[in-house]
Subunit: 216 residues, 8 copies
């Protein structure tokens, strides 16, 4: 069968970062073909949301490659040697959100930005956040991850002046199952100027931060 995809290699020139591959809904055969196409064009391939089993096959076939099981990120190629630090902070309320924090972290690393991670600054013990306020003030962009009721971006947004990208996590159960309550809570925030991405869209949040940083 002939090739049934067409990578948008001009994207990086147009918008500053290249096309990546959404791994969850593609078969190994489809992914293999796409990665080979990237290689022919001398590009690294970043695959997001790649299930472990498919990753194991692909990392055994392609080298160099990197797979992080928590974030389900696969890189065929290498992260940039030189990275910029101290521009972006990722805040989260707890261990359950780590998968998303790390998807954001590796997505930014792929475009040459090394973010700082602030774990467990959740609102059920607001002193943990308050203790970090001065440290957080140094960053240019804040990415705030939260599941359940999604209140963290609101509290952060009332305390700090930077651009805030809120990322709802799909953790939770009952009314918060799937992340819709966190999403709506972030959208409805009484703290002004917060923006939001889709549930579990760590890659999107990373690129939103990149768009802000990149243009400066």
């Amino acid at each position: 069968m002939s090739k049934n995809f067409r990578i948008d290699y001009q994207r990086e020139e147009r918008i500053g970062f290249q096309e990546v591959v959404f791994g969850a809904s593609k078969t190994i055969d489809q992914l293999r073909g796409i990665i080979q196409d990237f290689q022919k064009n001398h590009k690294s391939a970043l695959v997001t949301r790649l299930q472990k089993k498919k990753a194991e096959v692909l990392t055994s076939e392609f080298s160099p490659s990197f797979y992080d099981q928590t974030s389900k990120i696969l890189l065929v190629g290498e992260f940039p040697k030189e990275v910029v630090e101290d521009e972006i902070a990722i805040l989260s309320g707890g261990t359950s959100d780590q998968y998303l924090v790390d998807e954001i972290y590796y997505s930014l690393l792929f475009v040459g930005r090394k973010a700082s991670r602030f774990h467990d600054v959740g609102v059920a013990g607001v002193h943990r956040l308050l203790e970090n306020i001065e440290e957080l003030r140094k960053y240019s962009v804040l990415i705030v991850v939260a599941g359940f009721e999604g209140a963290l971006p609101t509290v952060v947004g009332g305390l700090l002046p930077q651009p805030i990208i809120a990322v709802p996590a799909s953790v939770g159960y009952g009314v918060s199952k799937g992340g819709k309550t966190a999403l709506k809570s972030m959208l409805a925030s009484c703290a002004n100027g917060i923006t939001v991405v889709n549930i579990d869209n760590g890659y999107g949040a990373a690129m939103a931060a990149f768009r802000i940083i990149h243009g400066k």
Copy 2:
């Protein structure tokens, strides 16, 4: 036409507080008949969510009577002469929630409890809440009203040990229109031991507080 309702006058004996009247969906004729029935039984009648136009007719017919336009509470009869103070605090994030704060306030007054109101302690400026923590520690029950993203009960619940009754307000727009986001956010709170009532159910929150206080 014969009487098509039957007041549950034994309710106070069974559960500690009497039946009240949900005014929003009743006609003036229905309400007049019900209030007269209360009067024949030597009881005050509390009507909740009563639209202004219907209230004007009824307050002109019954005396003594009291109507508060913000909370839409009508009392035909009198509030108790002696009330207990300093047991219950009502917290809210802003002026838009006042209608609900006051429905709770008057509902508690009707059962002999004078609550304290803390306005504008919302999470977009969390210092206003933090300044009141020691004062709030004195109360036996905290009723927390919030609209939009409904984050206030979570922050309160992480700071204070009392029973917390969260009341979602229907204020808001877009995803928070009608109060469903605030409701779900409160139910999904990562602060443990918070309980919730229906959107705009100020009377229910008041009686939930009364059940706690009354049994002590």
Copy 3:
């Protein structure tokens, strides 16, 4: 990798009960690290909603430990030696709700309260509830679990004066699948003063009861 969580050990001092661990969305590695942290701080660790397979690994590694398969509660450490009885009653409509009744039971046991369980007092045979009314009158708090249409708290709330915490169960199918109908039914109850927690939030209901009992 450095530690990516931070337990809120001051929580017990602030609000009367310590932080517990939501087990469902954490890996064994994450849980192991967290439990060790609790042990270093000389605290028992309570893990809720822990899947059986992960529990088997952890109970084989930590001692003393206790795991209840129905409620999915793991305790690393020991329940208090001395407990207070006859304060809290847990009512439910049937065997299908047992998982939730027992999550509430063990969560309360962890904070030194031994609750009484009333099984199968559901509304489809209301005589079973009516026969227990006098017995139920003795308790300070009633926790009422129900799935499907969630009508039990309403009937209880019309008969008894205590604080009532309604807990929707996710059992059911069709319109009641996932527990949303039970949740909404409880929130919309025509019996006044009932409060509600998230679907399947047995731990939250237990702590809501504890907040009431504790403050007396």
Copy 4:
């Protein structure tokens, strides 16, 4: 303009009761034309959910006619002279449901059945229902109306053996606004053998009862 409707006059022969007119979404001109068509065919016309203003115009034009403001039922023609009693009981939880009780009552009257109405037998004071059980046992069909949490059909269904048609009322607010919680609660009832009609569909409930009675 030519006639743009066609009444199904064979319906009564096929299914036992004639076509009626849904008034809410029709203009006065449309209704006038339809009613005249019924008159030409020597039939009474029953119009449901007719707004008061439109009814006033039509009752001034057609005689004999009857309009009940609570139920919004218009009859152009006359109710049957001879009616059968004691077959159908309509139960409801309170005054707020009266509009629906009466829509059912008049719809049944139109097909020659005079139903008995039991007001205020709601579950928040379950003794009022229990006192009526023996009386209710005499009827062949029970139509049970409820808004808010819609628990009444469940309790009735656990106590009595007859066919039960549950009718959700759109009264309520917050999660019960529009009647969807009552509807789902009735569908999810743990009492078996209850059937349900659309929210506020009093006419449909009446015809469902008629189908049962008629075929005996």
Copy 5:
């Protein structure tokens, strides 16, 4: 552990049919205990929605027993020797609904009614229904099963005068996944006097038919 359930053995006397067991959410241990309790009380036990694996264990332990894999019905005991035929017809639109048709069939058999099944009379080829109209006219109650858009009860309801119980099936995908579109379509039917049960509630539909038949 002591018994944590209580069968409602008076139910048959009160409402005409005995309590059955909802199998889907119970463990084998719970089911074994419940079935033994039925046996001690000299009753057959009907278990609905029982997964195949659990059924295999229980049928190997209890005799006589019957399990139908399509409908997931388990009977421990025997169906009545004498049954009444030609009272109830079950109509469905196709093979995909068979699981529900058969749950209704066996549930009715358990209470001594042998229903007739009309397969594949769906509306996409309406002639198949029209050919059966005279035959269908003989039955006292029609139970109509449909998934996808759920249009069958509407067409039947416009052609035949009997009581019609509509049962939405959870088959379908996209907007009809889970059966909610079929459910709502049946509730909104423009054919009057149709009643509806919960999605996949075959047992409930059977008992609704039984309530109608039984009282005659």
Copy 6:
């Protein structure tokens, strides 16, 4: 203020029909400016969903103009003198859908197609549809309007081979309020090859028919 819109006058050349104006959410000032712009470009202006009050102002200002109150269509300019007949049939279930039937009718007239209207061929009396089958077979495209349960397109789709465009009407109440049940029912139709447009989107259905006819 400078002009804040820009009509897409090349649209007709690109896709065969010109841009029209969605009137519901525009002010009279906005509409006046837009219509004048059309006039300067020597084009008729078709405005859809225009409220009566705004139409009265505009028809008094522009001539020639035509406004149909039922369909809320305003034409500033004239319908084509020559029209093609007998290509498109519009079917509907009753008088309540007339507003939509007529929006489709006038939208087609604007592009030179005179459709035939079949009123009251609804499924609650399926014989009315069956009687028209041979007549309907002559048309090239069938547009089928239905509210409530939206079953009509399914029955039509099982009987006739033409392209079928289903249009859900927002008439109805309870679960069918706003037209979502009709929409989903049409999408889930078990009759194959039916396509659907948005609720109340009569203009869209007309243009979908035009795209089919036009290309022949």
Copy 7:
């Protein structure tokens, strides 16, 4: 057991294409019986959405047979020898939609139409679509598949005049999980005259195109 289905063999004569089999919810036994029935009537059987495991059994039993794993289409029999090309184009935004593109492709092949597939013309790189506009202009019908935000049909609809059938794909996550956002986006399209089928309903889209082509 007697046959519990009835194939509608007159469908092809009535509407131009024969009945096919929805495979997802049928057992192997049910499918075997149905396929044998088709064979007895000298017809090929097309089964849609057939899971791989069931397909493996059936392809081993029936010959000739064809199964495509991506689209889950099974054909027992043979595709037509002669097919018409260049009438229908299928557009999609990427590899993740291929399952649906191919279901449409094989469904059309079954009725003698060989469609052309345009992969990866998605809107995130709109130049890929613009480059194909002249080529696309040659086709009589455009079927446009899209998941996530479903914007492709809108852009196509603004550029090309043909009938456009939009097919929402269930790929996506968070708010686009299950395809509902793509579906609603297509229905709400500001490009006029686009019609839509159910999520993942590739077969339906194919037959909608066939209805258009067939009648010419």
Copy 8:
């Protein structure tokens, strides 16, 4: 009555812009009190979503004041004398979105930024957008407003590298009524790095842009 609000005058110092007033749900009395409080603190007061009738009262009482009827923005005080231009562009698809474009415009003007407005660059005629690409490239932040299917941010996001803030408009009907489809479409965008605010939240979008600009 004592003051029941407390303006957060430290907000500007903390996060760079001052508290504004949500006007829709406040009474004239509440607004008057709040505006006077701002005046006492020598601050201008910006009120968003203020209904015309309330605005007329307030503009007659306070001077200088400015009210824009389309955007429903009230300013008591004056816009900054000096403003920065050419940093922020606001794109929209049509006249129906103007209310939101202008709310963004005036909100930015209040913080000293004069944005450029691009009207009618919607995707149904994508050439209008393509013609403006080079001009748009000059701006630092793009705010993209869209209702109906909300596709515009996706197309922009695939063509331009800047930060993109998508704002769903509540215009539309049927599935797009209230703006939820536009919101979800924007969140699910296949163009990466787009962020979203609540439906109709023009002020929030403006402050999100300000957070980006301000920190540079």
